[in-house]
Each structure stands twice: as C-alpha cells, then as structure tokens.
C-alpha cells in the first residue's frame, strides 16, 4: 500500500497529464500541431510565470491570494503609462508596482505575523481598488501605441517573446528552488520553521522574499498580457486567475502545507488544466462542464495528497 501511495504521490499528475495529452493528440486533429501547442504555451505564459513564483510561496509555507489583483493593477498601470511614456518605462513601472505589493504582503505576513491567507486576501481588495482608480473604471486601450506590444508579440525563432520570458522565469525559479541555498531555506522554512530558525535560517527574510517574487511575477504576467492584447482593465484576472494559479500548483502536487513541492510539478499542473480547456474547445464540448471537471480534478489531487500522507509509515 505504502509503495503504491508513494509512487502515486511522487508521479502525481504526470501520468494523467500524459494520458490526456495522448488522448487529445489521437482524438483531435488540430491538437497536435505546432500552432496549437505554441498557442497553449503562449496563452499560459502569464499563468505559468505567476504559478512558478507561487510555488516558492507555497513551499515556504505561505500563500498569496493577491496575485489576480496584482496582475490587473500591473496591467493597467503599464497600459496606462504606455499611452504617453516609453514602453520600457511602462513595463518597468508595472513590474515595480507588483514588487511593491509583494513587499507589503511580505512585511504584513512576517513582521506583523498576520496569517498569509487573510493578509493577501485583504491586500487583493486594496490592490483591486487601486487598479480601478488607475483606470477610472474604463478599458485602457493601447492600439495607437503598438510599440507596447513588442514585449509579448515579438517573434524570435518562431516563438513569441511572451513564451520565451515565461521559459526564462520558470527555469530561473526552478534553479533557485532546487539548486540554491535560498531554495533549501525555502523548503526548510515551509517544512519546519522553528527547526530552520534554530539552524540559522532567517525564516522571515526567506518568506518575505517569496512574497516579493510572487508580486513581481504576478505583475510581469499582467504586463505581458496587457502587451499581448494592447489593452487592460481593472477587472482582468482577479479571483479567477488567483485560483487557476493555485489550482495548477496544487494539482501538480505541491503541498499547500508547505515544505513539499517542485517546479516541474507546477508546470505540469498548470498545463494539465490548460489541456482540459483546450480539449473542451477542440472537441466542441459544452464549456460548462469544463469547470465541473476542473473542480473534480482538484479535489482528487488534494485528496490523493492527503491520502498518501496518511499512508506514510
């Protein structure tokens, strides 16, 4: 029993992902084409960036529910600035806003010791409000400033820069998590904060850093998507994005309790959810069932995690 559970737990979503991939490749002609696959990656670029940083937050024992709001705020900030300033400045400002929100999140959670779930939930309302203030409730349209689109839509080796950016961020954060001392401290903080502290790990600093990275990543995602569609509005993303990101991380098998997880898991988890959506589109299934299927899968993933923990000797 234990070995089966351990194996299931280790492989996690990988087998279901491969099965779904093969099923879609066989049942849908347009699925297994370069255009469609690159399109999936391009569409998931921002989600993957945010989820990659979110993985660090979760492994360190935190949670960030403000990413949807930060995504929107950074998107409208950049889109707004792009109307009258250089695209570079717009992009930098957008990301900086996210880093700032992340810093505030981190300080609230570590210095004031407020539960991360509540702190970032509260911050998500504040940030959403700020986003609406920036836009005045309107859609910000940058069609007359196509230079802003270069960030996401420049093609390099037939692949969009948004996808390249995503790959760079995911690989960089994967290296941080699995190969660096900072990564070890992230695992240690989430696995046993007191043990980490007594071993000389500055747990608050580690946690704070993960929140800053999460804020920055959420902002980068927002800016990339605003650049891709040359518009942004305050209601972009919001809660749906936050929960899609969390779902991707958790479906991949990273524990919401901290101390366990890996970047490849998050990538597979996010893409798994994306494949379900893509499959519903390509196979012409009723999209209403997509959400139901997604929720069911999430429950199974979390259930499996809990079950295999119980079975551990």
């Amino acid at each position: 029993m234990a070995t089966l559970a351990t194996r299931l737990r280790r492989a996690g979503i990988l087998y279901p992902f491969l099965i779904l991939f093969i099923v879609l490749a066989v049942s849908s002609g347009p699925f297994f084409t370069k255009v469609n696959l690159l399109d999936i990656l391009d569409q998931q670029a921002s989600t993957l960036i945010i989820a990659a940083a979110g993985t660090l937050v979760l492994v360190a024992g935190g949670i960030d529910l403000s990413v949807g709001a930060v995504y929107a705020l950074a998107g409208v900030t950049a889109a707004h600035l792009a109307l009258f300033a250089s695209p570079a400045l717009a992009i930098v400002a957008g990301v900086a806003v996210g880093l700032g929100v992340g810093l505030v999140n981190g300080v609230i959670v570590t210095a004031f010791r407020i539960n991360a779930l509540i702190a970032t939930l509260a911050m998500s309302f504040v940030v959403s409000g700020l986003a609406s203030l920036v836009t005045g409730g309107n859609l910000v349209i940058d069609y007359s400033h196509p230079g802003f689109a270069d960030l996401a839509r420049t093609s390099f080796l037939t692949v969009n820069t948004s996808t390249w950016t995503m790959l760079a961020v995911v690989v960089a954060l994967a290296v941080v998590l699995s190969r660096t001392t900072a990564g070890r401290y992230i695992y240690a903080s989430g696995s046993n904060a007191e043990a980490a502290r007594l071993s000389g790990v500055r747990v608050p600093l580690i946690k704070l850093t993960t929140f800053v990275l999460s804020g920055g990543a959420a902002a980068l995602g927002g800016v990339i998507d605003a650049s891709r569609v040359l518009s942004a509005q305050a209601s972009n993303g919001e809660t749906t994005l936050t929960f899609t990101v969390l779902a991707g991380i958790v479906v991949g098998g990273t524990s919401i309790l901290g101390g366990e997880g890996a970047m490849w898991r998050t990538v597979v988890g996010v893409l798994f959810i994306a494949l379900i959506g893509n499959g519903f589109d390509l196979l012409g299934l009723n999209p209403l069932y997509e959400q139901i299927a997604l929720g069911g899968i999430l429950l199974v993933a979390v259930g499996l995690d809990a079950w295999s923990r119980l079975r551990q000797p």
Binding site: A2, T3, R179, T180, T181, A182, G183, R184, Y185, Y187, A188, S191, N192, E194, A195, A196, R197, L198, S199, G200, V201, R202, G259, E260, Q312, P313
Partner: protein, 510 residues
C-alpha cells in the same frame, strides 16, 4: 450520544489480554514477528527493548491504533479485532501516546472530558464538568486546576490530563508509552504512585519504558523484545537492570558513561552569560569553558529550556549579555548566535529540530549550506561527501541520503541532529534533553559524542531531566529553580541528593 458503555466488571485475577502470534510489518521492515504474551488483570506489565524493538508497535496494536498483519488478540479470553482506537476504547483499552494530544484552546477539564462532556440539551454542562473533574483529580491524587488553559501546560501536567482522560473513559487497561520520558524526577515519582494506585484498583497498566530502573521498581511482569521478537516474559522480581539490558542488546554493556576528561586548567571561557533575563529566566549568569561539559539540572518548568533558548537567541532577552569565545553576542535571532559559534540541539527533535518530510542530507547540511555552496548554488557533491562524513562520525548508517529523515529511528534522528551540529562546527553547544526518547544504544553513543566533542575543545551546556546522565557526564552542575540558577556543584559535592535538594530548595513540601 457519546456516552461510552461501561465494560462489565471482570475478575481481578487471571488473564486480561492475550496476544497470540502477532506480526506486523511496515514497508518491508518487520516490526513484530510472531510475538505472543499474556497480560494479567490488574498487573503492571512493562514492555522493554531498544528503539525499533517493537514495543511501541505492540502497545499501539493493543490499543487499536495499528492492526496486526497476522495474529490474534484475546480480551478476557474472547477473540477481538480493533480497527480503530475508538473500538479499543469501547472495550476499555486506552493508549497514552508519547506525543501528547492536548487541545490548546480548551481548559484542562475540557481536555479531560473531550468527547464525553456532561451535557444538557446539547450544551456542555459547565458546572457538572468542573465537579466531575475535581472528583476525578481527587481520586487520582492529582493537584491540577481544571480551569487552566491547555495552551502552555507543562509536559508533566499534560501527562496528567491524558491519564485523567483515560480514567474518565472507564479504562480497564491503560497503555502508557514512555510516560516519564519528559518528566523531572519528582514528577516521575508521583506518576509511579499513580500507576501503582491504578493497578491496585484493578486497572491493568501496560508500561512501555526506556527507564529500566523504573521498570524494575514498578512492574509486576516484564516482556523483553529484541528486533521485533519476544525474548522472554518474566516476573519483574526475577529481573535486574543488567539482565534486562543484556537481553535487550544481546550483549552486556559495560559502564554506562564514558570516562570524563579533565578540563585543561587554563581553558578559555567560550560561553559567558551575565545577568541574563528573559521570560522564565531571572538574572542568570554562567560560564562554560572550552572542553567543559556543564550540566544544567532543575525541575521541569524551572527555566532550563527558557535559559537555553535565551542564550541561543531563540527567545527575546530582556536584560543581560551573552559572549561567545570572548565576543559579545549582537544581533537578534538564532542566526546571530550561530554565526558567533553557539549552536543548539532543541528539546523536541521533531517539532524544533527536524524537517521530517525532507531528505536526510538536507536536514544535516541545513546549518552549513553557506560553506557548501558557490554563489548561492549548492555544491551537491561536496554536500554529499560532507554529510556522509558526519553521519559516519555520529554512527548513523543510512540507506540513502535522499530518504526522508522520518524513516530513521528516534535515536538516529537525534544523531542526525548532532551530525548537523558537527558539520557546522560551533564553539559552544547547548544540548536540551539530547537523549530523550532514544534507546540505550543510542544514548550511549550520544554520551560518547558529547564527551568527544568536549575533548575536542567544544564547550557543552547539557540540559537533562535524567540526573544520572548529568552527574555522569558533566564536570560541573548548575541547578535552576524558579527561573534562577540556584546552586552550583562540582567535584565531590556533585551528588544526586545535593542536586535534588537544590532543585526543590526551600519550597520543599509546599
């Protein structure tokens, strides 16, 4: 409702529980192999053996926490199968585990009656609860206030809550797993009296214990286990500590403590505290010299752990200074203490020491990663070699460094913590109960480690509730009482009686 059925009163003599051919494996490792034994009504039956010998597993099988792979359990001659602790409780068998389970938000009385609260129309009847608690505590002879919050309860008091909880469920057989491991001597003595009274009243007590003296004093019968197999069950009167030990180990152990090496006369002071005050600690001053083991004794709750945590900056300090190797400790947090060369082995290895789900290697290298990395990237080969080196030094053989540290036995987990410290290489080590809950073999190994660390010039502050351990290892003993260092003994004056007297101080008999 949650009211439990009272088991029918049975004869006071004869067999209460019989185990026939019990086997149980965990992931390929056989924890129990064809173990058979009988436990008499109203007896105190001790289960002894090294960690991993299977005694805790046996206790858990009795109490329905674990189901055996093979074998039969007979209760008053009737075959029974417990699929859960609840089923065992319904038949009058309760386990008091090593890890106590106290709900911090509930009061002592509420904790005791958890799940069996007296109620009226669905509401907890508070007055009845308090009255029943007082009756119960009086019957058991405990001085324990029912309205204290569960949060922050001392281990000794938590233990009492667990026992009262078992009693109020009409337990006829109580399995106690290492009940005195975390208790100071007087608390343990009091618990012994409670156990005797329980047995005299007809309750059967199964005692899982590492303390062989306790077993010899307390038990009616002793079952010795080795590597999951039964060695023998015999009347405790026929056993001595030595006979039990040699059967457990399969060889006889020489002296328990390694020889003390004298501290060089001009050894520098490596840890110096002056007027240290923190929550639970008042105006404590102490010196530890290089190569010296200083014992810190005292009753549980006397401030030993608090002092250790204050020294290591794990707790906020309100006044006083700490110097390590001549340099004043500045900065906040254990990080600053560690940087200065002051490391700690915490009281609870699972809660404060280890990352249980993480690999052994990560647990060992955690405090030394800066040295094992280049530009923030962990040099994995160097790490693997360093970890293998220190694990070898502390005498832990691991199947794979990547295996979770939770797969190690308790003694080896503790040694892994020592390996972490060795790898870090501090000037001073504060070890808080380093041998709690580990088997005799591991204890001996830890004693040797502490002695050899001191011989290499480390200053050691050793906290222990085991007075023998402190007297056997330390060059000098400090005794704490009510948050202060009340006495210091060295040389001839270091006797158990003197230490105990100082620990109790003037309040004795109060």
């Amino acid at each position: 409702m949650a009211r439990l059925t009272v088991p029918s009163p049975a004869s006071k003599t004869g067999t209460h529980v019989e185990l026939v051919g019990i086997s149980r494996s965990f992931g390929g490792v056989r924890a129990l192999d064809e173990v058979s034994l009988t436990i008499a009504h109203g007896s105190i039956h001790a289960l002894v053996g090294e960690n991993g010998a299977g005694k805790s597993t046996l206790g858990k099988i009795l109490a329905g926490v674990i189901t055996p792979d093979r074998g039969q359990l007979l209760l008053d001659g009737e075959p029974v199968t417990f699929r859960s602790p609840r089923e065992a409780i319904l038949r009058g068998i309760v386990l008091i585990a090593q890890e106590l389970s106290i709900a911090p938000a509930l009061s002592v009385a509420e904790n005791v009656f958890l799940g069996t609260e007296p109620r009226r129309a669905g509401f907890v009847a508070r007055r009845a609860l308090r009255r029943r608690f007082d009756d119960l505590a009086a019957t058991a002879g405990f001085e324990l206030r029912g309205d204290l919050p569960g949060r922050g309860l001392r281990t000794a008091d938590q233990q009492k809550v667990e026992i009262l909880r078992a009693l109020c469920r009409n337990a006829r057989l109580i399995v106690m797993d290492e009940p005195t491991a975390a208790l100071s001597r007087p608390d343990a003595e009091r618990l012994h009296q409670v156990i005797r009274r329980l047995a005299a009243g007809g309750t059967t007590v199964v005692l899982v214990s590492h303390f062989l003296r306790e077993v010899a004093e307390l038990a009616d019968e002793v079952t010795i286990l080795r590597d999951g197999r039964l060695v023998r069950t015999a009347p405790a009167a026929d056993e001595t500590e030595e006979t039990m030990l040699s059967s457990m180990l399969g060889r006889s152990l020489g002296t328990t403590f390694p020889p003390r090496r004298p501290v060089p006369p001009h050894a520098p002071v490596v840890l110096e505290a002056r007027g240290l005050s923190a929550p639970g600690v008042h105006d404590a001053s102490l010196d530890v010299r290089a190569g010296e083991i200083v014992g810190l004794a005292g009753l549980v709750g006397s401030g030993r752990t608090e002092l250790a945590r204050a020294l290591c900056r794990a707790q906020r300090v309100s006044a006083g200074t700490v110097s390590v190797a001549g340099g004043a400790l500045v900065g906040r947090g254990p990080w600053a203490a560690l940087r200065a060369g002051l490391a700690m082995i915490p009281e609870s290895r699972q809660e404060q020491g280890l990352m249980l789900g993480r690999p052994i290697a990560e647990n060992v290298s955690l405090a030394s990663l800066a040295r094992l990395s280049d530009l923030g990237l962990v040099r994995r080969r160097a790490e693997r070699q360093a970890v293998a080196g220190v694990l070898d030094q502390v005498g832990v053989r691991v199947p794979a460094q990547a295996a979770p540290v939770s797969t190690l036995s308790g003694g080896n987990q503790q040694k892994a913590l020592f390996a972490r410290i060795l790898l870090r290489g501090p000037r001073v080590l504060v070890a808080d109960e380093p041998t709690r809950g580990v088997d005799v073999g591991a204890k001996r190994a830890i004693y040797e480690l502490l002695t050899s660390l001191a011989a290499e010039g480390l200053g050691v502050l050793l906290i222990s509730s085991d007075a023998e351990e402190i007297l056997g290892l330390a060059h000098r003993v400090l005794v704490m009482r009510a948050g202060r260092i009340a006495a210091e003994f060295r040389g001839e004056a270091m006797t158990e009686a003197a230490v105990l007297a100082a620990a109790f101080g003037a309040e004795r008999g109060a």
